[in-house]
Symmetry: C2
Subunit: 323 residues, 2 copies
């Protein structure tokens, strides 16, 4: 099924109103989900929508909760997400970091007690759209074995870094696992091997067979021991600053994955006289002569706005059934 962006966003908005969101929040949330889908990341857009709906219905997510500031010191703030909708909480947290960074140059909002933020890159694009540098990360349920271990005790803790640029923001959005479970399923469905080893099989051998990794549940951290270490330290910082849960405290069932901890940092580079982020970004990209982070997102966006967006039938049916 191919739908237009407007049809996708409108259907999601009506669906979110139907499950209890205020009109303005339903519109914002629908836009975030539709944008991710339009940008070529349906796994973290529309395809996660059925889970959001089911978690609202089960009471795991409170559709009425709004993130509120609970502590502050200078340019450092702590917010409580009230187990509300993760995408809206994350958007509000990054918006608060951006607003404060206008006055203080750099600002940090730590958000606890929230739920899945869906596509992390959304908040990088948000920061860059506001012409600020953005860094943010989240912890997750335990879904990745630390290096040297065979059971999932750390999270794949997506990490996002964004830089504004007139001709296309530079936005890195990377999980700490080399391939997400969504990516593994995609390779398997297409009958393809992974381009590089992506995890271990049940016998503990590195493999490029996506099905073998899905079966073992042992995806590989990026950089082996390095990504494992980065996941650990990002989890500690998020939980500590947010006053929230660390990965080991988060239920391993995705339908109960709430109480996440996240960090949003905005830097208003333009507030420093002479800082010309956009020119430097242009020059670096020209010098590298390789794909830069965010380039494929923009290409997908242009194509989908032009040709429409192919939606997953099951997820689309859930959204349509609400209205």
């Amino acid at each position: 099924m191919i739908v237009s962006y407007a049809e996708l966003a409108g259907t999601l908005e009506r669906g979110l109103v139907a499950v209890g969101l205020d009109a303005d929040r339903a519109r914002r949330c629908a836009q975030l989900i539709a944008d991710s889908t339009r940008d070529g990341v349906p796994s973290h857009g529309l395809n996660l929508f059925p889970r959001v709906v089911s978690m609202i219905r089960s009471g795991a997510i409170d559709p009425h909760a709004r993130a509120v500031r609970v502590a502050t010191h200078g340019a450092l703030e702590r917010w409580d997400g009230g187990r509300g909708i993760g995408a809206l909480n994350a958007y509000d947290a990054m918006a608060a970091a951006i607003a404060r960074a206008r006055a203080t140059g750099i600002a940090c909002v730590a958000l606890g007690n929230t739920s899945h933020w869906m596509r992390g890159g959304s908040y990088g694009w948000q920061a860059a759209d506001a012409r600020t540098i953005g860094l943010c990360w989240t912890n997750t349920l335990p879904n990745l074995p630390p290096w040297g271990c065979d059971s999932p005790r750390i999270g794949n803790n997506p990490f996002v870094v964004a830089v504004p640029r007139a001709s296309g923001h530079v936005v890195l959005d990377m999980a700490m696992s080399q391939f997400s479970y969504g990516a593994l399923a995609g390779y398997r469905a297409r009958g393809e091997k992974l381009p590089v080893a992506g995890g271990f099989d049940r016998d503990g051998h590195l493999t490029d067979d996506p099905a073998a990794i899905e079966a073992s549940r042992r995806p590989l951290p990026i950089g082996f021991w390095k990504g494992s270490g980065l996941s650990i330290v990002l989890d500690i910082i998020a939980a500590a600053l947010a006053g929230g849960q660390a990965t080991h405290e988060i239920p391993a069932d995705p339908e109960r994955e709430t109480g996440l901890s996240q960090v949003f940092i905005a830097i208003d580079a333009a507030s420093l006289a002479g800082a010309d982020v956009e020119r430097i970004a242009d020059e670096v990209i020209a010098s590298v002569q390789a794909r830069y982070p965010g380039e494929r997102t923009l290409a997908a966006r242009r194509q989908h706005l032009c040709d429409g967006i192919e939606v997953d039938d099951d997820a689309w049916a859930v959204a349509r059934a609400l209205t």
Copy 2:
């Protein structure tokens, strides 16, 4: 040759005085170099010292220059390193970020026009010793091919994240390449293969043969396309905030590697009521049941303080010859 920590630090201090440093700066710089060597990272400690001396003698590094603040907006500062000694500039920049974060919760010092900071982890340990969370990174000369390319057009841009903990700080210090050239040389000298593929051979095949990667000069970014993208975006941010050079502007000759750009962020978590970083770090480390970042450093430190430090003969001879 095995020397004590005191002998190593004292010899370096006298050597640095001999090449023109003030007594207090010679002591601090010697301590930073000796600490890295003591901590099991001689490649970024004593073994880099001969290059520092030769760059002072060639005029590439000005031993008298001190980093100075040139712009500020709130908790965001820009410093100029005056092409001075990289380790001292980095230490001063992180100290400034820590001091400002006491008042503002989070603070960022961007340092341009500096030289090689030696061991990046030093400034993570520094932040954690001050009971703050530290994040810092540097760009480097072009020494890593971006993903999909075969010539070095990006830097391995080390990235450091540190969390304070009474029983041992958590300090991640990772370059964007899976193995540094120093690590490759070590595996080769021991006649060992790498534990995982570390780069491409001259024919473009992934290999675990360290000599083949040294020959091709095509080490692998961590996480393949992910580390490549992270290197690019960290370079842009460092150059833009510091008002300094990006990797493509830095001479590819290590003896002329000056004009680097770096970012130092400190977060005073304790300034938020209820933030208990150390307890959360303890709990996360206990839950992970795997090696945490910084653990091996502490083990090396204890051993070397007890048994002495084996020093590279050539580097030690350079240090001794100065005094």
